[in-house]
């Protein structure tokens, strides 16, 4: 990964790791990137941000219904839990785990409260991911 991402970008990722926004799973993803998959990390981050945003939109719609289908809500949360575990977005994953508990309890209030938390942590990590990718792109253009 070091061969294909700039040191400043890696530093940005390191600060996300040190603040607990990401866990060691993200470091393992960085190691998967090599010459044969030079855009792997960019693709992963982009997909995570897009899928996550779509999921949060769906959760908002589902919880807005008069009659909430908690099984459907849980399905969406499971998806986000899975993808956040895959990219190492620790706080998002933890928020999803909490969310699932409220789904089991069929607590609309609990779900709504946790959705707020989920939204905050998701947009925090996705914002920082996007900033990291922008930095990477700027560095790449500067060295052309």
């Amino acid at each position: 990964m070091a061969a294909t991402m700039k040191l400043s970008t890696l530093g940005y990722a390191a600060s996300m790791l040190s603040t607990g926004l990401l866990d060691e799973q993200f470091q393992k993803l960085l190691l998967l990137q090599d010459g044969s998959d030079p855009n792997f990390v960019v693709e992963i981050i982009t997909l995570f941000c897009e899928d996550g945003e779509r999921t949060i939109g769906e959760l908002t719609k589902q919880l807005d219904k008069r009659c909430v289908n908690f099984d459907e809500v849980a399905d969406f949360v499971h998806k986000l839990e899975g993808s956040s575990a895959t990219v190492g977005a620790q706080r998002v994953k933890n928020a999803c785990i909490q969310f699932l508990e409220f789904c089991k309890e069929k607590s609309r209030d609990g779900c709504l409260k946790t959705l707020d938390t989920l939204r905050v942590v998701f947009y925090d990590v996705s914002g920082k991911f996007k900033a990291m990718l922008q930095l990477e792109q700027q560095q790449a253009e500067a060295t052309k």
């Binding site: 992963i44 499971h78 994953k93």
Partner: protein, 133 residues
């Protein structure tokens, strides 16, 4: 690690509806020179077997639209496809029981580790080699 058995790469089927997870697993499998096909849900996976496609290993998510992983595994076995190694993959706590009851050979929690994938592919290669002897 060699992934070729007399010119025959390991054929892997990924059954997964989340693009992030598909990308990570495909990237891992490409490192072991696997031939990869992706199904976005259990029904697509079953359809591939109905079309006569053959695989050495399946990595199957649990919760997917249209048809779940465990349901797909039951249907694949019902088609007589018992030679293929089926690995259930999920971030859910209760997934292991669901997969093993459905007839999966192994369960691996998400996120998948490269070493775990490597070991599974090597096991498939060893089996293919032994079957040829």
């Amino acid at each position: 690690m060699t992934s070729y058995v007399e010119g025959s790469p390991v054929k892997a089927l990924i059954v997964e509806d989340m693009a992030v997870d598909t990308l990570v697993l495909s990237t891992m499998l490409r490192k072991f020179h696997c031939e990869i096909i992706v199904a976005k849900n259990g029904k697509e996976a079953v359809q591939m077997f109905l079309e006569g496609k053959k695989f050495d290993i399946i990595f199957c998510d649990k919760d997917m639209p249209v048809m779940s992983g465990p349901e797909a595994i039951e249907k694949i076995h019902a088609l007589g496809e018992t030679h293929v190694k089926i690995v259930g993959v999920s971030a859910s706590d209760n997934a292991q029981e669901a997969f093993m009851s459905a007839g999966a050979d192994e369960f691996v929690p998400k996120p998948m580790k490269l070493d775990v994938v490597r070991a599974m592919i090597q096991e498939v290669i060893n089996k293919k080699t032994n079957d040829m002897v």
